[in-house]
């Protein structure tokens, strides 16, 4: 077990910079998720921690020691790959034992560790099988077993669940959490799936195009997104972002589509500025037209059973911002309009130009 420190880490391929200075301190025993859309550099960052990619700038330290120039095998880490990367010609047992054999551990010790890992992962009956004779979920567990037996300081996971079907994914998520609780090993987990990130992470890093947009606990990131990117990426459907202008000494936001929303506290500094008003779909509730803050034209409705998702547009000619609302129970909103309101404490403000969050005190 160990802490992992990223200090202003850069990565370039040739002249193209892919990672633009990322810093994060990962505490001993912490479960950290790096989440972001495909191509934002999550894998690259993880592979730099693993030692599979060179570090172009900055430092990575594991357990206080800078590992920039250490081979992967000398970093005392274990990695689980997206495609599992099991040795096809070796049995499950040998797949798990291989790394230990190379390290020259005594046979008896290897056996104990493999048996114990197999027990934890319920692989004991499958030890003699080849990877090709296993299901996707079982292969995934073998890949995890291979990491566990090494008893490394840090586990690295690169989208390990993305090849599993939805049900198995939920199950493996639970198993991963149980495993982390049991072993307490520092873990860095990469995914593009925000649900995975929200459910697994003790802390998460939301990445966008090689930048760390926000680092924080899942509920913190969900509750106070640092930018419109994070607001749009975390949460499903994403947060509604409604363009408008601050007026009346910074006390009122006039949405371009006509709505008028009072701020819980005036922001005189920003009077006259173009802003984006953010409200999560689940914080919108139906109300009388008179009390409504937003009145979108309804485009379509999705019935989820427990909830209803209503999608619409603001503005008379549907040119305004899109609005999505998650409403409870069954909703009769087929007349084309839907009057919605939200409580002021649920509103977020972002700078229209930079996309950065503006705090309302």
């Amino acid at each position: 077990m160990a802490k992992v420190e990223l200090r202003n880490v850069y990565k370039s391929y040739g002249t193209t910079e892919i990672i633009h200075g990322v810093s994060m301190d990962i505490a001993d025993g912490e479960f950290v998720v790096m989440v972001g859309p495909s191509g934002c550099g999550k894998s690259t960052l993880l592979r730099m921690i693993a030692g599979l990619e060179e570090i172009s700038g900055g430092d990575i330290a594991i357990d206080g020691r800078v590992v920039n120039n250490l081979e992967p095998k000398d970093r005392d880490i274990a990695m689980v790959f997206q495609q599992y990367a099991l040795y096809p010609h070796m049995s499950v047992h040998d797949n798990m034992a291989y790394g230990l054999k190379i390290r020259g551990l005594p046979k008896a010790e290897i056996e104990t560790r493999v048996q114990r890992a197999a027990e934890i992962l319920e692989l004991s009956k499958l030890l003699g099988r080849r990877p090709r004779e296993l299901s996707g979920g079982q292969r995934q567990r073998v890949a995890m077993g291979r990491a566990i037996v090494r008893e490394p300081k840090v586990f690295l996971f690169d989208e390990p669940l993305s090849n599993l079907d939805a049900k198995l994914r939920v199950q493996m998520r639970a198993e991963l959490q149980a495993l982390h609780k049991r072993l307490g090993t520092t873990t860095v987990f990469v995914t593009h799936d925000q649900v995975e990130a929200m459910t697994l992470a003790q802390r998460m890093m939301v990445m966008n195009a090689g930048h760390a947009e926000q680092i924080g606990a899942p509920l913190e990131v969900y509750g106070r997104p640092a930018s419109t990117f994070v607001a749009g990426f975390i949460g499903s459907p994403p947060m509604n972002l409604i363009p408008g202008t601050l007026a009346e000494g910074g006390a009122v936001l006039l949405a371009d589509a006509g709505a008028r929303v009072g701020l819980p506290a005036a922001l005189p500094k920003f009077d006259g500025r173009k802003l984006l008003l953010g409200v999560r779909p689940e914080h919108l509730e139906p109300c009388d037209e008179a009390a409504a803050l937003l009145v979108p034209d309804v485009d379509f409705i999705e019935l989820l059973g427990s909830d209803v998702l209503v999608y619409g547009h603001l503005g008379a000619d549907r040119k305004g911002a899109r609005v999505a609302a998650r409403l409870h129970g069954s909703m009769a909103a087929s007349d084309g309009h839907l009057a919605l309101r939200f409580t002021p404490k649920h509103m977020h403000l972002f700078d229209a130009e930079t996309g950065k969050r503006i705090e309302i005190e």
Partner: protein, 282 residues
């Protein structure tokens, strides 16, 4: 295509049977001729049922060769052919698998240049470079030696290319997993790459065994002593002058012997061979 039309079935079977007969008939005649006496062969028409000289003919060629043509015993020729047919494929496989490994898994200066150098030699089969190769072998004093017989045939662009293509289908993640497990390059080669290449190696072995066994032009040039003849050359040297002067029964017996080992290798390794060409066990 699964169709059940009786006429179609009949026609396709007829075509297949006819094809088999056309291919098999000369082989059958060869075998029959190898069991006859010389007089029986020269009668017109030649009998189409096996004669009673099977053991005599085969014993003679194996130990003493022909009386009118070459006197080299076919037994030693079979041995020479076997050396050639084993050393060439084994040499080829060992050299090309490590070249391919270097080209695929190591980044070294001029890597692509070397690959293309190897690749370009694909266009230069033995026959094209035979004169300079002969000169080199002669200058090295390797005429009439096993080294001279096999060495020039061992370098192989085809095999290197085949292994390269196969290695490129092995996922990068596997190499990375091995690296994380602490395996160095050679360890990765022996523990992962080599076992995964088994079927490819088997397929190559079969093809190259036959290639080595059937070599004609090169052994013809580098062997002048009877003791170094390969079987294929032996057959050529048994045939001298006019039709009637040849002991055709003995020539045919030698031909049958020459056909057996490649056939045996194909039959015994068929399962591996097909697997190596068809599936990739990744």
């Amino acid at each position: 295509m699964v169709e059940h039309r009786p006429l179609l079935k009949f026609v396709s079977h007829a075509v297949l049977i006819l094809g088999a007969i056309i291919v098999a008939f000369p082989l059958y005649v060869t075998f029959v001729a190898s069991t006859l006496s010389l007089e029986e062969i020269l009668t017109v028409p030649m009998p189409l049922l096996p004669g009673n000289r099977f053991f005599e003919n085969y014993a003679q060629v194996l130990t003493a060769g022909t009386t009118t043509g070459s006197h080299a015993a076919v037994g030693s020729m079979l041995f020479n052919s076997m050396v050639m047919a084993l050393v060439v494929p084994l040499g080829k496989i060992s050299i090309s698998i490590i070249s391919a490994f270097a080209i695929v898994y190591f980044r070294f200066p001029m890597r692509n240049f070397f690959f293309w150098m190897i690749f370009v030699t694909l266009m230069l089969p033995v026959e094209v470079r035979i004169i300079p190769t002969f000169k080199v072998i002669a200058d090295l004093g390797l005429l009439n030696t096993y080294a001279g017989l096999t060495l020039p045939l061992i370098a192989s662009a085809t095999a290197t290319f085949l292994f390269r293509q196969f290695f490129m289908t092995i996922p990068d993640e596997l190499a990375e997993a091995a690296r994380m497990d602490g395996a160095g390059p050679m360890r990765f080669f022996f523990d992962v790459v080599l076992p995964l290449s088994k079927t490819t190696m088997a397929a190559l072995f079969v093809i190259q065994f036959i290639y080595g066994w059937n070599q004609y032009l090169w052994p013809l040039l580098v062997t002048s002593e009877e003791s170094m003849y390969t079987t294929v050359i032996g057959i050529k040297r048994m045939i001298v002058g006019s039709d009637a002067a040849n002991e055709w029964n003995l020539v045919m017996a030698t031909a049958v012997l020459a056909m057996l080992p490649p056939a045996l290798v194909v039959v015994l390794m068929q399962r591996w061979f097909v697997k190596g060409l068809v599936d990739t066990e990744k």
